[in-house]
Symmetry: C2
Subunit: 147 residues, 2 copies
DNA sequence: CTAGGTGCAAAAGGTTTGCGGTTAA
DNA sequence: TTAACCGCAAACCTTTTGCACCTAG
């Protein structure tokens, strides 16, 4: 279930791109908000079905595309393989552990966006900057850090 | 055709991971070095066939995987869709133009790697850092900047 | 001789599309 | 009422795999 605040946020974001807040879109949004990992479309499909058994995988893909367009969800493609999705929120990088396959959010200092942007030569205008790390995590991190 | 220098580089890199410098691997390496864009496996297949008509797409994939493992080639996954490949070389970021679909290399200052690495919390050990920008390029850039 | 490589064709993901039916402004 | 949306199944595209043949150490 969505809080009133999140529902309004969704409603406004969708309306701003001329689309309707349907049951399915609301549900997918609530599912992706509920657990802050980086699920694939397929994983979201499985979770979404628990409360909405009739939803289809194609609809999940459609809803996700819509949510990404509405800037409510970020689509992350680190490795080859399925895209992963996360609720947009603050500026952060991703760390992909090669041992566990888990993805962790790395909080970044506020200035980083401007810093990285300043490295672009003239004529390049960045809408979005994606920073991602690949490597290994110490065992204790895996449990303490939100993934 | 590969220069003597590049051929030796390839030979050493492959031997270091216990693999042989075959005709196909040499050819794919030379094709990817020749034109410094960011081709997909399929595009490389097309280019490779011009001089080696019998090579197969599966072999192109196999060779690319090998070259990536040997650290001679970098595999880049920015958007969903086919992976792109580039000869490894120096530390650089990628800029993906949403209008033209082109990918540009962005040269980074040397310190950037250490700077970005320093932002990781304890317990995270990065092997590789990937920085990518998505946005638009001014018209004149498209022709002047190497893509 | 034999482990590693190649080419082919088929299969396997992951995602998109077309279409008939449904739903909400 | 009508444009947007959904669910289903089929199509699609990229990549991987299995297997028979080949080739260099």
């Amino acid at each position: 279930m969505l809080t009133e605040k999140d529902r309004n946020h969704l409603k406004r974001a969708l309306e701003s791109i001329g689309l309707r807040p349907t049951r399915q879109r609301e549900h997918i949004y609530s599912v992706i908000l509920r657990k802050r990992d980086h699920p694939t479309a397929d994983e979201l499909f499985a979770r979404a079905k628990e409360e909405m058994p009739t939803i289809s995988l194609a609809t999940v893909y459609n809803c996700l595309e819509t949510l990404v367009e509405a800037d409510l969800v970020r689509q992350v493609n680190l490795e080859r393989g399925p895209s992963r999705f996360c609720p947009n929120q603050s500026q952060h990088a991703h760390f992909h552990c090669r041992k566990t396959g888990k993805i962790f959010d790395i909080i970044l200092p506020d200035e980083i966006d401007a810093d990285l942007r300043s490295m672009l030569p003239d004529g390049f205008e960045a809408e979005h900057i994606e920073l991602s790390y690949t490597g290994f995590t110490a065992a204790e991190v895996t449990s303490s850090h939100r993934n």
